[in-house]
């Protein structure tokens, strides 16, 4: 096996984690990773020696994700998923999720895809602002405002969830 393929293989766990944060559903996320890997292999020659495989692969995957989100939203419908709907779209129970995990994943799905990608890229995947801005193809200022708004939105959604939960408890 050549070095390039070995390098790509070792990035799969991270790609899967990023995809899962973008799409939540396990199979859908792995499908996105598979599309990304297929595209990467076709374009193996475009991968310049010395360029980080991680950055290269994340860029490919991000383009796939954003292109499809744009198509899905081409009529301008809000990309935001109301939290109630997020809860209704029950994730498959491939592993037992704690309530906290479920709530944060639901909230993450409810923020806009652009903000979600920016926030996850930096807060989970550990890319620097410069790297993340490069991968996402936006100026650093845009990236920063997406991160700030994404965090604020996430916090608001989580607060709403816990407020509703306490109401439910009171009602019982």
């Amino acid at each position: 096996m050549d070095d390039k393929k070995a390098a790509i293989l070792s990035e799969i766990p991270r790609l899967r984690r990023y995809a899962r944060s973008l799409l939540r559903d396990r199979d859908s996320a792995d499908d996105l990773v598979q599309d990304c890997l297929e595209r990467a292999l076709v374009r193996l020659d475009n991968w310049q020696t010395g360029e980080s495989p991680r950055r290269w692969l994340f860029t490919i995957m991000h383009h796939l994700f954003i292109d499809q989100m744009r198509k899905v939203n081409r009529r301008g419908e809000a990309a935001m998923l109301p939290l109630e709907a997020g809860e209704a779209q029950a994730a498959p129970a491939d592993q037992v999720e704690t309530i906290a995990s479920r709530e944060i994943m639901d909230a993450l799905q409810a923020i806009s895809p652009d903000r979600r990608a920016a926030l996850v890229m930096v807060a989970i995947e550990g890319f620097s602002y410069a790297e993340a801005a490069n991968i996402l193809g936006v100026p650093a200022g845009t990236l920063m405002s997406r991160i700030a708004r994404g965090r604020e939105e996430l916090r608001g959604l989580l607060d709403d969830t816990s407020r509703r939960r306490s109401i439910r408890i009171v009602e019982k």
Binding site: M1, K5, I8, L9, I12, P13, R14, R16, R17, R20, S21, L23, R24, D27, S28, A29, D30, D31, L32, V33, Q34, D35, L37, E38, L41, M69, K71, V72, N73, R74, E77, A79, L81, P82, A85, G86, A88, Q89, P92, Q95, A100, S101, R102, I104, M105, L108, Q109, P113, V120, V122, A123, I124, S128, Y129, M144, I147, A148, L154, R155, L158
Partner: protein, 264 residues
């Protein structure tokens, strides 16, 4: 020590490791002096920890063989077009936001062929196909030449946003469509397609469904077969007398486009 005014922006920068080291002490002092900002910072840190914890398991999860195979060049070349429907879950999210059509995406990427079951939808779809596909001159009410009207009319009657799938890649051209009764008091749209040899298939779509299921169904041996999906608020069957493999390909393409159309 550098002196400057800090703001909320710096909370994010500090959190993301973007605050220059020489500013760190001044920033910490600022945070101490501003309880509100300190609380905000603590909250963001807690949310991030929760996110990381929720996603940590993925890293330890064994990599699915199909992903390794892609890289190693051992992947079966087939089925790529269908598998690439991951974005349907994104579409489902939009639909949930727009109007409650969600849910049917679950399990969509593995269509079980040869499923068992006596099913009303499949029977109706096959009956309609047997009746109308055999008609040479009166197979449809509205011809493909009037496609826009056909789509609008059927969408309004059936109560779903119907887009007639483009099956040219599978060798089929739209002939036209008609409106049919479905179930107790529902309505169904039938779209008829024809290939170069005159072989016909039909798509039968109705909003009248409260179950969730999918499979294949044949009313009699040698007769046309239906590949169908049921979901709450939405059901679709593709009927034809094609080799199973080909019918399956057509059905997958049609279904993907119908779902994309409904979500558009």
């Amino acid at each position: 020590m550098t002196r400057r005014d800090f703001s909320e922006r710096d909370i994010h920068m500090a959190l993301d490791g973007e605050l220059p080291g020489e500013e760190r002490m001044a920033y910490d002092a600022w945070l101490e002096a501003n309880p509100e900002m300190k609380a905000k910072s603590a909250r963001y840190i807690a949310d991030r920890a929760a996110m990381r914890a929720a996603l940590a398991g993925v890293m330890d999860d064994p990599v699915p063989a199909r992903l390794r195979q892609v890289v190693l060049g051992e992947a079966p070349a087939k089925a790529s077009a269908w598998r690439s429907r991951w974005w349907l879950s994104a579409a489902a999210a939009v639909m949930l936001a727009v109007g409650g059509l969600g849910g049917y995406v679950a399990g969509v990427d593995s269509i079980a062929r040869g499923g068992e079951g006596d099913d009303q939808l499949a029977e109706q779809a096959i009956a309609a196909h047997v009746t109308y596909a055999a008609e040479k001159r009166h197979a449809v009410e509205v011809p493909a030449s009037d496609k826009d009207h056909l789509q609008t009319w059927l969408s309004n009657r059936v109560g779903l946003k119907l887009v007639a799938p483009d099956l040219a890649a599978e060798g089929f051209q739209l002939v036209g469509g008609r409106l049919l009764p479905a179930g107790e008091q529902g309505k169904a749209a039938m779209l008829l397609y024809e290939d170069a040899k005159g072989e016909r298939i039909s798509l039968y779509v109705t909003a009248d469904s409260s179950e969730t299921s999918k499979g294949t169904y044949a009313a009699e041996t040698g007769g046309p077969e239906a590949v169908y999906w049921l979901d709450k608020g939405y059901a679709c069957a593709v009927v034809g007398s094609l080799p199973p493999e080909r019918l399956s390909d057509v059905a997958k393409s049609a279904y993907g486009q119908l779902v994309a159309g409904i979500s558009s």
